[in-house]
């Protein structure tokens, strides 16, 4: 389901600089940047190439329609916890690792249609 878009790497690199230099109080919407370099949050078009730029990830939900993946990553973007949810709503609570700095580097892309980040105020 991945979709590469020409020019996205350069765009994302610029956006990354912007995100990293943003003040701490920047809006959470700055965490998610599409291939046009504009921030989005919540929903995106099918096939949108997405970069998470230094987002603090507790649980991210990568949607596949009514069923979806709820995933967690470590600082190197290794998948550490994966949950495929057939339906309903899912939340994962833990006493540790509730804030992690996750960087999806340019080139890591997927055709994601829906994105959710929980417990993040640091983007």
């Amino acid at each position: 389901m991945s979709l590469k878009i020409a020019g996205a790497v350069a765009t994302a690199a610029v956006a990354s600089v912007v995100a990293l230099s943003a003040p701490h109080a920047a809006r959470a919407t700055d965490c998610l940047v599409d291939e046009k370099g504009s921030s989005q949050y919540g929903s995106m078009s099918y096939g949108t190439e997405v970069y998470l730029l230094r987002a603090s990830i507790h649980t991210s939900l990568w949607d596949a329609n009514s069923d979806y993946f709820a995933r967690r990553y470590d600082s190197a973007f290794n998948l550490t916890l994966n949950n495929y949810v057939l339906s309903g709503s899912y939340v994962y609570g833990t006493s540790g690792n509730v804030v992690r700095q996750t960087a999806m580097t340019p080139g890591d892309s997927a055709g994601l249609s829906y994105w959710f980040e929980d417990e993040s105020t640091m983007c």
């Binding site: 995106m44 009514s66 998948l79 495929y84 994962y92």
Partner: protein, 213 residues
């Protein structure tokens, strides 16, 4: 093709998506006209709600447990208490009327790695509930081997693959098969386990349809 169709459906749905902020902590939720809000569920029992412990298992020297309760929104919840690294509580809540809208098995497939080894899953667990019509549940593996899944009198199940099994590709779950009292197969659902952490960039990999007979 199934997923492509579903994504296109979602694109249409996204046009009516509403983004909102809930709470000063920055927790974010969003809803649409056709879907429930996610991430904003209340994973706690409602006041005075009864919490039922369905299954407690000692696996690899660690205690696992699945509980059920009703939250303040009236949703029926299942909560799996996961021990160890990446441990915590995974809670799935839904309107009881929608449990079996897509079939007699309502399930979650979960896996976690350890901090010391990202190349394999340390544990894999499949959990959920089945409709009253289901009298037998089986898990199929990549080699089409079948393993009985214990279901309690409330239809709740929690099947855990020990670390040794979770590391074996041949043992990883591929499907869930349900039978009714006559022995007829009433469901054959995929178990879309994610690639191992070492191959984690395959986001949203479509589930592999079970092909075992």
């Amino acid at each position: 093709m199934r997923y492509l169709r579903k994504h296109r459906l979602l694109l249409a749905m996204s046009l009516v998506t509403v983004v909102g902020l809930t709470g000063a902590a920055g927790a974010i939720a969003f809803t649409s006209a056709n879907r429930q809000s996610r991430g904003a569920i209340d994973p706690s029992p409602a006041k005075n709600a009864r919490v039922t412990v369905h299954d407690a298992q000692l696996v690899g020297g660690q205690n696992w447990q699945v509980n059920s309760f009703t939250n303040a929104e009236g949703q029926a919840c299942l909560a799996v208490v996961v021990p160890g690294e990446e441990g915590g509580t995974g809670t799935n809540c839904d309107d009881p009327s929608s449990f079996f809208a897509r079939g007699p098995i309502h399930y979650v497939v979960s896996s976690k790695s350890s901090a010391s080894d990202r190349s394999h899953w340390e544990a894999v667990w499949v959990w959920g509930r089945v409709a009253p019509s289901v009298t037998r549940l089986e898990l199929t593996t990549a080699t089409c081997a079948r393993t009985p899944v214990r279901v309690d009198s409330d239809g709740v199940f929690l099947h855990i693959l020990t670390p040794a099994l979770a590391r074996s590709t041949a043992s990883l779950p591929q499907g869930l098969v349900a039978y009714d009292a006559t022995g007829s197969r009433v469901a054959n659902d995929p178990v879309p386990l994610a690639a191992t952490p070492a191959a984690q960039h395959s986001l949203n990999a479509p589930p592999t349809p079970p092909h075992c007979q």
